[in-house]
């Protein structure tokens, strides 16, 4: 079988192995409907409407295509930032690596298969969003042409249709190819580093730098507001768009083919993807095998030194907690996806305020907060609450609390430690990694907003309550159906439906808390301090109730855990 055939074979096998098992309980069907109807659909509709509005608005200033271009570039940035770790780990650190390299397959063919698998897994949720953006764009065209969707079908050039179809699948490909090339080059540069710790530190810093560079390029987004965005986008002077048009240079060719119906640009767009893909394969041919050897030879000197330290005696709780913390910090997949991912919140908040707090809408908002406008204060409180719910669900610390045990889940049952102690240790580990990031985020916001100490403490207490609710629900979900038969830690995170559904439930919870809080504020018309106290009492009451109720159920689930 040829090289391409082997790549395809491995890709298909990886795909089959990634099938997610849906537990056969009615609640999971409800949750699946909730995820689709409550998250995916609204997301797609929102993007589609944005696309529609931007296209219509920009058509008036003669830059109709810049709206869809803007959206495609934002999606490209997200693909790159979130794809970086996934691609790097998939290429070099997945546990099937040692298994697959013994087969008679060229290393770069293996790399290609793994890359395509990572691209599809990572972009599966993005394809419907891209489709929605394009539907919004075509709807605006139909509106502009004063014809219905059916008539538009006949009017739009085949070049546009082909471009749209290609764009759905190719827009996320370039950022992922960049991630792949960066990973291969990074590994080639690190081939002389033999210590695992040094290797992880350097690669971590490189990837953080890469992500920071992209966050930095977002600084231009703050200059956009309702008043000036049409002008800024229409004139093509928007800093974000200009930067992204250089980095993701094929995307403007895509919009030119789509909007200006230029077949040459379509060919250029497709050709550049082929060229970039071939460049990636070429780099892999040169360096991928060497990178695999480098990973195989990494040593761990610090662990050897640590083993000679005398052991200290700890209480049952501390012993369990230390085990949780060590597993989380020392397992690369968990460290990246569950621990360090929390840095997004303070980093994002800093970037938001640093780049935009002295101009645009945010500057006005900061001004309103500083002079004590109640709605501004309410908005800050609710934004922090929202972040606490989402951050807790996003880091999966609670929704993988039991799945993380993997094949060793029987350990929970046979060690002579009360289930409640083990449960508390898991909950505490979740709080230890989530709350400091949330507090750092709050601290940064407090600095820029000039928040008083009493408010800082008050908001922190609210965030803690939100974290407790999210954490308890996450652990409840995971304890009911832990996913323990994973091949490696990355598949433990990817194949775990609890993580996915916990995120969905928390998005709903956050949305409900914010929506109800706003409605109630408008209905009651109480002074904000009194209203905040009401929110505090209700939220903490809910948190305590949730923890007490879920504790009982989680302990029952632990009792019933199938450790076979």
């Amino acid at each position: 079988m040829g090289g391409v055939g082997n790549s395809w074979l491995i890709f298909k096998m990886l795909q089959k192995n990634a099938r997610v098992r849906m537990p056969a309980k009615p609640i999971y069907c409800v949750l699946a409907v909730l995820v689709f109807g409550g998250i995916m659909l609204p997301c797609c509709v929102t993007v589609g409407v944005m696309s529609y509005v931007m296209t219509q608005a920009l058509a008036e200033v003669g830059s109709r295509g810049n709206g869809i271009l803007y959206e495609m570039q934002i999606l490209s940035v997200f693909s790159m930032v979130f794809g970086m770790l996934v691609v790097f780990n998939m290429l070099y650190f997945s546990s099937d690596r040692e298994h697959l390299v013994t087969f008679p397959v060229q290393a770069h063919h293996l790399m290609t298969a793994k890359f395509l698998f990572a691209y599809l897994m990572e972009s599966a949720m993005e394809f419907p969003v891209l489709l929605a953006a394009l539907i919004g764009y075509f709807a605006a065209l139909a509106e502009g042409a004063s014809c219905g969707a059916g008539a538009l079908l006949g009017q739009v050039s085949p070049v546009s249709w082909v471009a749209a179809l290609c764009g759905i699948f190719l827009v996320p490909l370039v950022p992922m190819l960049y991630c792949g090339m960066f990973s291969v080059v990074l590994m080639a540069c690190l081939k002389r580093v033999r210590s695992a710790q040094t290797f992880y530190r350097i690669s971590g810093v490189c990837m953080l730098g890469f992500a920071a560079l992209f966050l930095y390029s977002l600084r231009g987004m703050g200059q956009i507001n309702i008043e000036n965005y049409v002008e800024a986008l229409g004139s093509g002077q928007d800093l974000f768009l200009r930067t992204m048009n250089v980095i993701f240079f094929p995307v403007p060719w895509f919009t030119a083919a789509l909007d200006e119906v230029k077949a040459g640009y379509l060919l250029l767009y497709l050709g550049m993807h082929v060229a970039l893909f071939l460049l990636f394969v070429l780099l892999g041919k040169q360096w991928y095998q060497q990178g695999l050897y480098t990973v195989g030879a990494l040593g761990n000197a610090a662990a050897t030194r640590g083993a000679r330290r005398p052991g200290r005696r700890h209480s049952l709780f501390v012993a369990c907690l230390l085990r949780e913390l060590r597993v989380l910090l020392r397992t690369r997949a968990f460290a990246g996806n569950c621990v360090y991912v929390n840095l997004i919140w303070p980093a994002g908040t800093f970037a938001l305020f640093y780049f935009t707090s002295d101009h645009g809408n945010l500057a006005s908002f900061v001004g309103m907060y500083r002079i004590g406008k109640e709605r501004a204060e309410l908005a800050v409180m609710l934004a922090l609450l929202f972040a606490a719910f989402i951050a807790t669900a996003m880091n999966s610390l609670s929704s993988t609390a039991f799945s993380r045990e993997g094949k060793q889940i029987g350990l929970l049952k046979y060690i002579p430690v009360p289930y409640m102690t083990q449960l508390r240790a898991k909950a505490c580990a979740s709080a230890i990694f989530t709350m400091p990031a949330l507090l750092a985020m709050e601290g940064i916001a407090a600095y820029y907003l000039g928040m008083s100490l009493s408010k800082i403490v008050f908001y922190a207490a609210l965030m803690l309550a939100a974290h407790m609710i999210a954490s308890a629900v996450g652990m409840l979900m995971d304890s009911g159906m832990p996913y323990v038969t994973w091949d490696d830690e990355y598949s433990a995170l990817r194949g775990n439906v609890s993580t996915f559904f916990n995120m969905a439930v928390m998005m709903f919870a956050a949305g409900a808390v914010i929506g109800l809080s706003l409605l109630l504020y408008e209905a009651l018309k109480w002074p904000l301090p009194a209203y905040s106290l009401l929110v505090f009492v209700v939220l903490w009451g809910t948190a305590v109730g949730t923890v007490l109720l879920t504790d009982v159920r989680i302990l029952e689930n632990m009792e019933d855990l199938d450790c076979g």
């Binding site: 089959k16 099937d96 390299v101 008679p104 210590s195 040593g299 000197a301 091949d487 194949g495």
Partner: protein, 239 residues
């Protein structure tokens, strides 16, 4: 058939896992690879199979250098890793056919071999199930069946008996004997000295990455008269 020349491997900057190791497995031979935990057995096997690149030395499989001609060399051996927990969402049959596709095994050959091997290992009824539902031993049997599906001249097996029931362990030993009797080579690592004694034409004992004994069991016993196999092993690998 399997030749290691002056193999050296270093993890990190200091830890020399294998130090100037040379040995050969000739056609028709079964060679056992013994040594205490951490002696470097798995590291040697990973170098033999192309997972790790030797810092020094080279590996020849069927006359082909595993680093310079990896594809030809890899086609010439079957490898069973010490951990059978891979691709667990696939069924046993899916996994075996995937490996058969990779090695380009014809439909007739794979049907014949799958039938023969599954019957010998008592796996015929379980192949349709996802491997996540298998016991450790069943996963190990599936890995063995898949590894042998292309019937290569050299077998390299890392702790292949681990988790196998007595009947399956017996079948595997019989298969190893038959394979060697047909002029092929078998190299396997083991902790069980009795297995090595009964099965191997020669044994290689590794300690701190270096060979402390290479030869037949009879020679080993002759060199250490009035000592049990365990005592000889502990004497060679202590310190």
């Amino acid at each position: 058939m399997i030749r290691a020349e002056n193999l050296t491997f270093v993890y990190g900057k200091q830890k020399k896992a294998v130090d100037a190791l040379s040995f050969a497995v000739q056609p028709g031979e079964i060679v056992g690879f013994a040594g205490p935990n951490g002696a470097g057995k798995t590291t040697v096997i990973k170098m033999l199979t192309g997972i790790l690149k030797p810092a020094q030395g080279r590996v020849l499989i069927h006359g082909h250098d595993i680093v310079r001609e990896p594809l030809v060399a890899k086609r010439a051996f079957a490898y069973v890793a010490d951990d059978p927990d891979v691709l667990l969402q696939l069924s046993g049959a899916e996994y075996i056919h995937y490996v058969a596709d990779i090695y380009g095994v014809s439909e007739k050959d794979r049907a014949d071999r799958v039938q023969a091997l599954t019957e010998r290992f008592g796996m015929a009824d379980a192949l349709g199930m996802p491997m996540r539902e298998y016991s450790h031993g069943m996963r190990q049997k599936t890995m063995i069946i898949a590894a042998l599906i292309h019937n290569p001249p050299a077998w390299i097996l890392d702790e292949p008996m681990t988790g196998l029931d007595p009947a399956a362990a017996y079948e595997l030993k019989q298969l190893m004997k038959e394979h060697a009797a047909n002029g092929n080579a078998v190299l396997f690592s083991t902790h069980v000295l009795e297995v090595a004694e009964k099965l191997c034409d020669r044994i290689l004992i590794l300690h701190h990455g270096q060979s402390v004994y290479q030869g037949t069991m009879e020679q080993l016993k002759t060199q250490h008269p009035q000592k049990s196999l365990e005592e000889i092993f502990i004497g060679l690998t202590s310190g």
